[in-house]
Subunit: 142 residues, 2 copies
DNA sequence: GTACAATCTCTAGCGACTAGAGGTTCAAGA
DNA sequence: TCTTGAACCTCTAGTCGCTAGAGATTGTAC
């Protein structure tokens, strides 16, 4: 096991610049180098990067991943902290789903109301222009 | 109607630095200034900024808002382009809802499976570590 | 006239990468 | 052994939509 950054990249499906980025922010340890200063990775790095990638796929933020990684390095400790991190994330996912669902229905209404005439009569533009037109509450989305 | 940037900010509920930012990126026109170079806004600016804010609340990107604004300035044109912008946005909201819904169920499973023992036995950590453990497909979420 | 809140410009930071320039190293084939 | 060219290196800057802060100036109420 003596992988170049490209090998690691293909194996774990994380792009090369992203691997370097993770090293830079301290998520991955700096690996040993060849004489010509190229990075060489081992089995441990494969596991760690897989962990990171999977956690990112699940939408965890880098800081949460940092905590999860340090928890997984202490197998005797209780796992409540990991639990709490996942729960916190779940709640934020649920909040975002709620917001987006509201949003979806507003956008659908806009499209339903549109009569496809000239802009002057377009409900879409009107709703946007009259900011008191509809009083739905929807938090920041993006 | 001769509003300072703070007045405009309170009236439309958009923060002062954000108003300056919108001017900088060309979303709002540069207003006239007092002798001491402070910005002074009129009714037209209130409408335009309301439009922008409402569109942002609905999750439209700045580029989409630019297009919507320029459409609303041509009331004789057909409104299909506005329609298309809204539809495109709706579709992306729907995609995100779908992703997040998948995500939610994965996170729930993780929490359900957790036996609250030591980290060694924690399903949460295990699932993250074994990246082949579960083969759900979920696109990038952010 | 004086205090002080509001305004000004400018730069940098957020999160999680991504892109590109310009240079070096590695590995395979001749 | 030499050569080619893909892969690697570092560094900087850009993405998006703001937000924060420094340090200076202006407006306004008393």
């Amino acid at each position: 096991m003596d992988l170049s950054i490209g090998d690691l990249s293909r194996r774990v499906a994380v792009k090369v610049p992203t691997i370097r980025y993770y090293e830079q922010i301290g998520l991955l340890p700096a690996p040993p180098r060849t004489e010509g200063r190229q990075r060489r990775y081992g089995a441990e790095d494969v596991s760690r990067l897989s962990f990171i990638r999977h956690a990112r796929d699940l939408g965890f933020e880098v800081d949460a991943i940092r905590e999860l990684l340090s928890l997984s390095a202490r197998p005797d400790q209780p796992c409540e902290p990991a639990d709490r991190i996942v729960l916190r994330h779940l709640e934020s996912v649920e909040r975002r789903i709620a917001q987006l669902t509201l949003l979806r229905s507003e956008l659908r209404h806009m499209l339903d109301d549109c009569r496809h005439g000239p802009v002057r009569e377009c409900r879409i533009i009107q709703v946007l222009a009259d900011h008191d037109e509809c009083r739905h509450e929807h938090g920041k989305v993006s």
